[in-house]
Symmetry: C2
Subunit: 260 residues, 2 copies
């Protein structure tokens, strides 16, 4: 396991992707990351905007999008086309050879349609199997995969899949061949002790402290699934997970480092 | 030059892509093609439909789309997202490992924005350079590239590029490493002597006969740029170009074979 090559996975959400200046800053910093790298992007709000223009109803339950037939077309266009291909073109302009992916491409992420229980999420996919063959081979040719939050069911259907989950599943799978660093970018400096105080970043967050923070109400809401993903990744061999501000990926010591 | 591997490039237009049963038949036949293969798709009409819904004006001059900022977003979503990713997912379901491409991906097709002369075509790109490195490497891993009619300018901008042109430019470039067969699918059985008689297919069309047919008015309109592309490909080392009905790619002897 010694001397495995390093790879950095950066996950960037819709709020950054939809803001031209923030995206530019992010890409400029991303380009400077040494070694192999992968960019995973979201894009929820841009999909919501297009859906509105097309009179396709946006329904969210617990922060998850209900993906009707029409909404699947919308997210396929926005995530797989508009956002993904523009990022690829912009990375090319920075001299970074990149290639856009969805989970259907090279069969890299197979999902299953989320079973209908209390809620029917429609064409939402839960990751079943990650095949890193093509991604690994492209990385070794210095091509940067840019991953959109779409997967497929192996039966010809695309599925809408949470970008945080894709990032952690891909990180776990790549850990077989690489020393993986996973960086979640968001709007805050890191996981904060006090939500309104950007200087209250928890520098190191281990599982015990995490559970304490939940008990004390310091960590709640949308941070919990994000951090659950992060700890799951660490448990499955990912070397390091960092949660930080999108403008800070040039200096990862600023954010929150997740450890076992 | 002996023993070069064979590759078949199939170009399929928007009229087939937008018709579910025609596309299904096409993909079923495409899957059966032996050896390495590439699918290049158009999708003009679906873009026009989305543009209409979004109140983006469609302007065509000489069969070419004027690509405004808004129209570039529309074609990026429809060609690079909706059509491309659905074809990839469907090929995966048939057991064909495939990967969606635009010319920006892996920097494979660099274009320049068409210079403004009498007409400003907007974000339309004329192919400048094809780099087959990634495509060639994926083919050799038995991954089928699925190419959308988009390229990039190397300065961060995507460009709308004619799918016939992409097919012939890619065919020419791949001829350095492969024995290339290029198949253009359209609605007719082949190049016809008499436009209304599907049995009047010109089986073999060489350049001399082509010029005669133009003089006599047998070949005109949209067939001319298509055939110009075909002859240009043959001249640049492509082994064989066939023009045939989309439902006939299982038996290429039915169509028109272009020879030097």
């Amino acid at each position: 396991m010694l001397n495995r090559p390093q790879v950095t996975l950066v996950k960037v959400g819709g709020k950054i992707v939809e803001d031209k200046s923030k995206l530019t800053k992010l890409l400029t910093d991303f380009v400077k990351i040494d070694g192999y790298k992968v960019l995973i992007h979201g894009g929820g709000r841009l999909a919501t905007q297009l859906a509105e223009k097309l009179d396709v109803e946006t329904q969210m339950v617990n922060g998850r999008r209900i993906t009707s037939d029409e909404m699947l077309d919308v997210v396929t266009m926005v995530y797989g086309g508009l956002i993904n291909k523009n990022i690829v073109a912009r990375l090319q302009a920075e001299g970074v050879n990149s290639l856009g992916f969805t989970g259907a491409d090279a069969n890299c992420i197979l999902s299953e349609k989320r079973p209908v229980k209390e809620i029917d999420y429609g064409w939402a996919g839960d990751v079943k199997k990650v095949d890193i063959t093509a991604i690994s081979s492209l990385l070794k040719k210095n091509i940067v995969p840019v991953m959109a939050p779409l997967t497929h069911d192996g039966k010809g259907h695309l599925l809408n899949t949470n970008a945080d989950t894709i990032a952690s599943e891909l990180a776990k799978a790549l850990s077989s061949d690489f020393e993986v660093k996973l960086v979640y970018c968001f709007e805050k400096e890191g996981v904060l002790r006090s939500i309104d105080d950007e200087s209250s970043v928890i520098k190191i967050l281990n599982y015990t402290l995490y559970k304490e923070c939940i008990m004390q109400g310091i960590i709640d809401g949308g941070m919990i699934p994000k951090l659950d993903n992060a700890f799951a990744a660490i448990e499955c061999g990912v070397k390091e997970v960092v949660i930080t501000k999108s403008t800070a990926i040039g200096d990862l010591s600023r954010g929150t480092r997740i450890t076992a």
